[in-house]
Symmetry: C2
Subunit: 203 residues, 2 copies
Amino acid sequence: MSGQPDFFAVVRSQRAHRAFGDDPVPDELVERLLETATYAPSAENTQPWVFIVVRDPVAREQIGELNRRAWEGGGRDFSRPRLSPRMFAKVEAGATGGVADAPVLIVVCGDTSSCVETVLESSVWPAVQNLLLGAHALGLGSALTTITTVFGDELRSLLTLPDHIRPLAVVPLGWPAAQLGPPKRDPVAEKTFREHYGEPWAR
Amino acid sequence: MSGQPDFFAVVRSQRAHRAFGDDPVPDELVERLLETATYAPSAENTQPWVFIVVRDPVAREQIGELNRRAWEGGGRDFSRPRLSPRMFAKVEAGATGGVADAPVLIVVCGDTSSCVETVLESSVWPAVQNLLLGAHALGLGSALTTITTVFGDELRSLLTLPDHIRPLAVVPLGWPAAQLGPPKRDPVAEKTFREHYGEPWAR
């Protein structure tokens, strides 16, 4: 998408990308997306997000290795019966290679010294969603991945994170290897109730 | 905003609204925003969000009362030294009245039977952010509030939530009583590092 991308068109076509081309993503675009992230709300405007932008191929490979270990050490067996064969294949390809092949990995962390722990996640994930949507608005591909945080200590060591900085997500960023169709979602009426749980939304 | 709102313009001007006019918000708009929410990503596309749309004035008053109790029972003393006097006054007005005065409260919950608990929040907050952005794109005001979940059991009882449905947020929705200026955020360079923590983003 270029020019002034329509808000609802961006939202309705967002997909998780796990395969990327080799074209570089310049710092200017990364910074524009991080700025987009920071416009998200947070508890008392504490803005407890911290971003580590990883381009170094060795570091990306090490993060990819954590991803693989987490996948092979439990994620795969957990996911196989829960996903369609097609989606399982995509997630497997991403976990064992594709995600770390992105030219940029943005490790999103939460600063536990900025706010109480109970509101840390509600104060960081909206910023991550802004980042993902912004990437899509610019034609970049990205995904929200959290599996690497199973090895939080290793990630912490790799990125020299102090104790108060908690890694929450690894967002790969790159130009998509393929265009993806629209997302598949359950209808609103299956997820929504009127006044109290159990009372159907659809009249 | 009307017509085709520009994605980046929507994101850059999102603010938390805590004061609303009396004009109604029709079901069609609520449903459009909930659909917007559902396009967000979730772990393995489990879509563990559940929305309770509360319009009943008595129920809104009861939720407002929980909000007040949580604020007066701890939130106020916690927030006072941390906020500017101006922001404190706004949050206080919202907690003690404004939020529950919105014509619609959307209680956003997570279905703990849909996914593992560790990814529940990362699978619900992006949808909430979509909802807030979508509201703003349509000219509606909203806010992400979580303080009421301090009284999760009371909220659960009020909305007849079964054990596996966890209330996470109360999002007031209405036409803004006032237009708000741009959000204030720390620069990207203060929140971002290169390759590892401590290495400045700015070159």
